[in-house]
Amino acid sequence: MNTATVKLSATVKESITDKPKAAWNYKNGSYFLLKALLTVSGFVIAVGVNIFFPQKAAVEIKNYTLSIFGLNIGLTMNDLYRALLVGLILIYTVSAIRSLADKDKRKKFCKNAAFRFALGLALAVWDIGGTKLQIFAQPFFPGPAQVAEAYLADGEYVLQNTLYSLRLYSAGFSCGVLLGVGTGILIGWFPKVYYWVYPVLKITGVVPAVAWMPFALTLLPNSFTAAVFLIVICAWFQIAFLTAQGIQSTPKQNYEAARILGSDPVDLIFHVAVPHAMPDIFTGITSANAMAFTTLVMSEMLGQPGGLGYYINQSKVWSAYYKVLAAIVIMAVLFSLINHIIGRIQKHTLRWQEGVVKK
């Protein structure tokens, strides 16, 4: 018995010494260096493309005056685009140096390298194909320098419209969530409410919220409240539907255990039913959120005095497709950010599920 264990440990030792080569992964120094070079090389190519390829399209690249410390520096939009790329290169270089010490950060950095390279390459292709060689039709594919112009020359107006969208969204969506969860609790808890309200919800819930727009625009005092109303109903129905489902699927045993421990009916709702329904409530919030973005942009395009949707419409009229693209980029960033915030709240609220539910 004893000898057998000794023998076993001996073979294990041998097998370790059999492999003197270091593993070719993020732990290896030269591997990491290679990944770091890969990360920045995409953006280096993008800068090179912007500098060395002459522009073929008849598009005016405007100048921009940057004022720093009383100095007025005249820059072209191309310079700004290049500065942005150099900034990215610097950021990733610093990030590479900072992740050197930490094993997990190194691993993550290496994992992202290929994607970041592709990102730089994509910018380069966009630049060449657009205004540089005019492979893509103009003015539908403005170059990166022009999109930068939309933010700098039209910055204040873009910001105003972004804030308008944000106001519409937050007013509509927060009301929608509150009403949705509230209605969902009532439907899930009281059979009478279920009987009368659930079928109505089920039928009206499938109608896209924007279909109500003619009514909203005529019956509500102004266009802002009309758009808020549309966002509210698209969040409300979806969230109410799922909240009710979550509440109704609470196991009977949870209620019995709580009652014996001293819960009254109100306590049962807020400390058993609602926590149990929380995963469903978040499913509702996430899917309603996506619909709320659609509703938001559509109602802005069809009848709002402001907002990113309005800005897109207005820019389209002037064939300023670079502004359309600029607004789309803002939407992508803004909506991703909102999704991210909701995701963080969800993760925190449902931390008890971690390890149970496969993500």
Binding site: N254, I260, L261, G262, D267, H271, M278, W352, G355
Partner: protein, 259 residues
């Protein structure tokens, strides 16, 4: 700190989804003394869990009456704690919050906050306050369920096969823990089980029930000195006695017809 429970002439009939009626309990009479440890044992369908649910107030009888300390049982009350077979912990609350649930629900959490830690140590779960139910083992979960019931200082603790889903080592461990808690708190204990050894090891009296219709067929006094030895001669003799009883108690097998 403990209650006597009186059950007299209790009938409970269920109607299943096909409309058939099942007599879960018929003419059940039982007196449980304050501070007594009593086991309800019998094959499945004998109504032992039904009886426990009636005592808890989770269910009502069609006939007869149940009372505690002379008061009629009309509904659930924290004075009668209940431990379910498994999976009754609230998955969204951590162990500490699960145990504190009764105090919070009854608005006593502020005054008695220290008790939570006390009950966590009592069931040997120090350091697991912040774990969630799915992160702990089945045996630990049942200890949490017991601590959660005991924190309300019930006068009677009703246990519905709390160790049914556990392996035999964990089960023996938890049985000892249960005896320890019983000695400390003096609570009346009513345990539903299908494990004869468990019933003998723990109880003062064993109530043997038979199915179709569910009724009490015999009550056996376990007068073995404590602590009991699971392999002792008297223990085994009693085990044999109960086993023999069950052979009699079980319904006659249906004749099989072969075509």
């Amino acid at each position: 700190m403990s209650s006597s429970i009186n059950i007299s002439q209790v009938d409970r009939i269920y109607t299943d989804t096909d409309g058939r009626t099942v007599q879960a309990l018929k003419n059940v009479d039982l007196d449980i003394k304050a501070g007594e440890f009593i086991s309800l044992i019998g094959p499945s369908g004998c109504g032992k869990t039904t009886l426990l649910r009636l005592i808890a107030g989770l269910d009502k009888p069609q006939a007869g009456q149940l009372s505690i300390d002379g008061r009629k049982i009309t509904g659930v009350d924290p004075e009668r704690g209940y431990v379910f077979q498994q999976g009754s912990l609230f998955p969204w609350l951590d162990i500490g919050q699960n145990i504190a649930y009764g105090l919070r629900a009854r608005g006593q959490l502020k005054q008695k906050k220290a008790k939570v830690g006390e009950y966590i140590s009592m069931v040997g779960l120090d350091g697991f306050e912040k774990s969630y139910p799915h992160q702990i083992s089945g045996g630990m979960a049942q200890r949490v369920a017991i601590a959660r019931a005991l924190i309300n200082e019930p006068k009677a603790l009703l246990l519905d096969e709390p160790m049914g889903a556990l392996d035999s080592f964990t089960r023996a461990d938890l049985q000892d823990k249960l005896l320890e808690l019983w000695k400390e708190n003096g609570t009346t204990m009513i345990l539903v089980t299908h494990d004869i050894d468990e019933a003998i090891y723990l109880s003062d009296r064993i109530v043997i029930m038979t199915p179709r219709p569910g009724k009490i067929s015999r009550v056996i006094e376990v007068d073995l000195p404590r602590p009991r030895h699971r392999g002792g001669i008297e223990f085994l003799a009693m085990r044999k006695e109960i086993l023999e009883l069950f052979e009699l108690a079980q319904a006659q097998p249906q004749p099989e017809y072969n075509i």
